[in-house]
Amino acid sequence: MSRTTASVLAGVRAVAPIILGIIPFGLVAGAAVTSAGFGLAEAIGMSLLVNAGASQIAATALYAEGAPLFVVVGTALVINARLFIYSTSIAPVIVPEAGAWRVLLGHPLVDQSYAATMTSGRFRDDISVVPYYVGSWLILAFVWQLANIVGALGGTLVPASWSLDFAVPLVFLAMLVPALKFRADVEAAIATAIAAALLVPVMPMQTGLIAAIVIGMVWGAARHHEHPRVEVDA
């Protein structure tokens, strides 16, 4: 097996546990498109081209409610603004291996491929990080697309009472724990947790999520002492 194939498969394996969790989201996203009065082409086109679940569901729902187009697109883009932070953060990891294709490597950037690459893939020397990153997205995109199609054709098959959507935060939790290497990481996580718990329910359009990430990264940066020897206790 070539190194590239092995890297793709390692990426697939890294996100495999999350697949069960994205199926309910994909079903909802697909069903939203048909209940807004559109068909399979729109459901498939949207998930291929936009490739960002929460924003797809929000845009479709707002469109169906008759919101002005700038509100529909603006809201969805605010939800996706965290991808800009992810991209800035992952750039030093994937750009050196990417060459001329680097801009296209933006498209596979989703929560899961970012998390797998930043918490695990980049530390492994038995794989190449770019195929690992793309592989982790490929399997998700494939399942996401299938779930969208099924959702568009038949609605949401999985009963909501199964709470399968909870698999997604659980896998993120499992990825978070090994990412807490330094005291400043733990403090950043605690600051983010408090901010997210307070802000997400009260701020509109998932802006609370972005505010919480920014608060956590600023707190972590402020508390991260790179040169302990120059620190003097007051």
């Binding site: 991209s87 930043m118 909870f166 659980l170 939790l173 499992a174 978070l176 996580a189 956590g216 990264m217």
Partner: protein, 113 residues
């Protein structure tokens, strides 16, 4: 413009905007020197982003835009956190979290929550 064409305008505009958000930093990387403060800030993005995705989903359920506290999910997330810290295993974290969630939902449901 038909409804369908208008919706395609939404899809394409959203796709273009999202692609820019994802790709602009990759395109810019290395073209301008990264200031030290930016590196410092970005170091904690994985921890902050993952926490921001986990915490609200463990505290609340959202129906039609309103947030309700979800004690069963909170219990399940705490159990999963313990297992994640002890085992470092994604599978065991997932199995514990879903298992505790289902049991807690059944018990709290029987108690009339």
């Amino acid at each position: 413009m038909s409804e369908r064409e208008t919706f395609w305008v939404v899809i394409l505009t959203l796709a273009g905007g999202t692609f820019l958000l994802r790709s602009l930093p990759l395109w810019l990387h290395g073209r301008a020197p990264a200031p030290r403060w930016l590196e410092r800030l970005l170091r904690h993005v994985p921890a902050a982003a993952l926490t921001a995705l986990v915490v609200p989903a463990s505290l609340y359920t959202r129906t039609n835009g309103s947030y309700d506290i979800a004690p069963a999910r909170t219990l399940a997330a705490l159990a999963a956190l313990l297992v994640a810290v002890r085992t470092r295993s994604v599978i065991w974290t997932l199995v514990t979290g879903m298992g505790v969630l289902w049991v807690a939902q059944a018990v709290l449901g029987a108690l009339g929550w």
